[in-house]
């Protein structure tokens, strides 16, 4: 009896490229750095626990029991939206398989013609017309695809994401087509929750101080001070962020497009994705269809990965294709984010006209603009 190798059937998420982490056997998908996400969870759960422990008993008795009930519902909704944003696939585009990458390469070569040796080849850009507006589709060297319009490559997660908004460290994930509405609802309801807790803290302190005096109130409910501090700072940033995203939604723009100034300045009013109607734009973003994930994280890996030694009898066509790819595919320099691009991107960011609310500056960098290799090519030319 020959030695038997115990081969566990792998699920596709185990072999996905990119820098994501997966949990619960592929059901949960997040970025690698989750520290700030845990901080977000801690702040929300901690502050709400203090509220339920210190303020709610008093308010339920002296004002109305509906107050803690509504707070619980709001808290649960916030947590649900946060987890939904953090754990779901933002709309990652899978990388091109070798045959597709090869096909695109051949198309590019045919389009460019022959480039004299020593000369840099032209940047890989495809022009498409969307609603009578020319939009340039860039080629992603990492994923080997021409990115669909509004897609962008997240350098932190190393994935192309459809309708890329930004990479949010607070939720520990990218925000893209599939989870933008959960992100927006999270910011909206968290603002409401913060305002709610802040307001009822004030009410509670005032009501108790009337009976007992201000200092003894603070001594009896020490959590109040902490809550008020956290809520005060959170409130301004969350309300500002919600306002900013409401503005973006009404114009049907992404944070990425806003930062790059794609449809502002001299291009104002030319956004081809906008319905030119605020209500329609809001409805499309918030009540549009729920897009499926194209990643198939939980599918089982096919066992037909061939090698020359294994293929016997009927020639495995994957083997054939693998051979053709090796011999005919030109060598594509796999340009990962070069370091010299980052300062130039930062310079571009600071000089671009922005009308963000000034409070957004207090937050750690929310938007991480994708740094794609061909930007350096375009800049260097």
């Amino acid at each position: 009896m020959s030695a038997v190798m115990i081969t566990r059937k792998l699920r596709k998420w185990e072999k996905l490229p990119g820098k994501n982490t997966f949990c619960c056997d592929g059901r949960v998908m997040m970025a690698r750095q989750k520290g700030i996400f845990y901080l977000t969870l801690f702040l929300i759960i901690g502050t709400c626990s203090l509220f339920f422990a210190f303020e709610c008993p008093y308010l339920a008795v002296h004002l109305s029991p509906a107050i803690p009930v509504f707070a619980v519902l709001l808290f649960l909704f916030v947590i649900a939206m946060l987890l939904r944003t953090s754990f779901s696939d933002p709309g990652v585009l899978p990388r091109a398989l070798p045959e597709e990458a090869n096909f695109i390469e051949m198309e590019i070569e045919a389009a460019n013609g022959s480039v004299p040796s020593g000369q840099r080849p032209p940047p890989r850009i495809r022009n498409v017309q969307i609603n009578n507006q020319i939009v340039k589709l860039k080629y992603c060297y990492t994923c080997k695809i021409f990115r669909p319009p509004r897609a962008s490559h997240c350098s932190i997660c190393d994935n192309c994401v459809d309708r890329f908004d930004h990479h949010c460290p607070w939720v520990g994930n990218c925000v893209g087509k599939r989870n933008y509405r959960y992100f927006y609802l999270f910011t909206l309801t968290l603002s409401l929750l913060t305002i709610y807790i802040f307001a009822f803290n004030i009410v509670h302190v005032v009501m108790r101080s009337v009976d007992q005096g201000f200092l003894s109130t603070l001594k009896e409910t020490p959590g109040t001070v902490l809550e008020v501090l956290v809520c005060f700072f959170t409130l301004w940033s969350m309300v500002g962020l919600t306002g900013f995203h409401t503005y973006l939604i009404s114009l049907n723009q992404t944070t990425n497009e806003d930062i790059k100034g794609s449809w502002s300045g001299k291009n104002r009013g030319q956004n081809p994705y906008s319905h030119k109607n605020i209500v329609k734009n809001c409805c499309e973003v918030l009540c549009g269809p729920t897009y499926p994930s194209v990643l198939d994280r939980r599918g089982l890996m096919q066992e037909d990965s061939p090698t020359a030694a294994n293929s016997e009898g009927p020639c495995s066509f994957d083997n054939l294709v693998a051979q053709t790819v090796k011999t005919t595919a030109p060598l594509i320099p796999n340009e990962h984010t070069p370091d010299d691009v980052k300062p130039s991107i930062a310079a571009e960011k600071s000089s671009a006209p922005k009308d963000d609310p000034p409070l957004a500056a207090k937050l750690p960098p929310l938007a991480s603009p994708e740094t794609d290799a061909e930007t350096s090519i375009v800049k260097n030319q």
């Binding site: 398989l97 597709e100 669909p148 509004r150 009540c287 009927p314 054939l320």
Partner: protein, 169 residues
Amino acid sequence: MDIRCFTVLIFCPTQFHNLQELRHSASLANKVFIQRDYSEGTTCRFQTKFPSELESRIELTLFEETVKTLNNFYAEAEKIGGQSYLEGCLACATAYLIFLCMETRYEKVLKKIAKYIQEQNEKIYAPRGLLITDPIERGMRVIEISIYEDRGSSGSSSGSSSVSGSTAR
């Protein structure tokens, strides 16, 4: 996969009745990729331009019919109207927990699409030595059509420039 192929070969020895059989008794010559059509925005649509590699394999009308039907399916899935608003609002009211037990409209349409592609493959494409891959398996970026050469006809060169390129080395 191999055991199934073996079983199929016993029962249907010669013709391309079965898609599994197509894969294992013919060799893959080339793949054609139908790209997305972004002229109407970011909604999912594929170009109906007829690729030159398929000219000798399938009629233009059949190909266009397939792509147009797929485009219609995707348009139906992504339609923003009364039903999508209702689904969105209901889901929001339940904090999106309802999706744990209910299938979204998009998922229902994707199932219809999978069935349609299977049917098209069996009736129209496999007899002509072609195979359509569901776009969702390619990230909804392309419709991949694989062109197979019958193993019996050796040295056939239609659409197999890449194959001859490798054998020449």
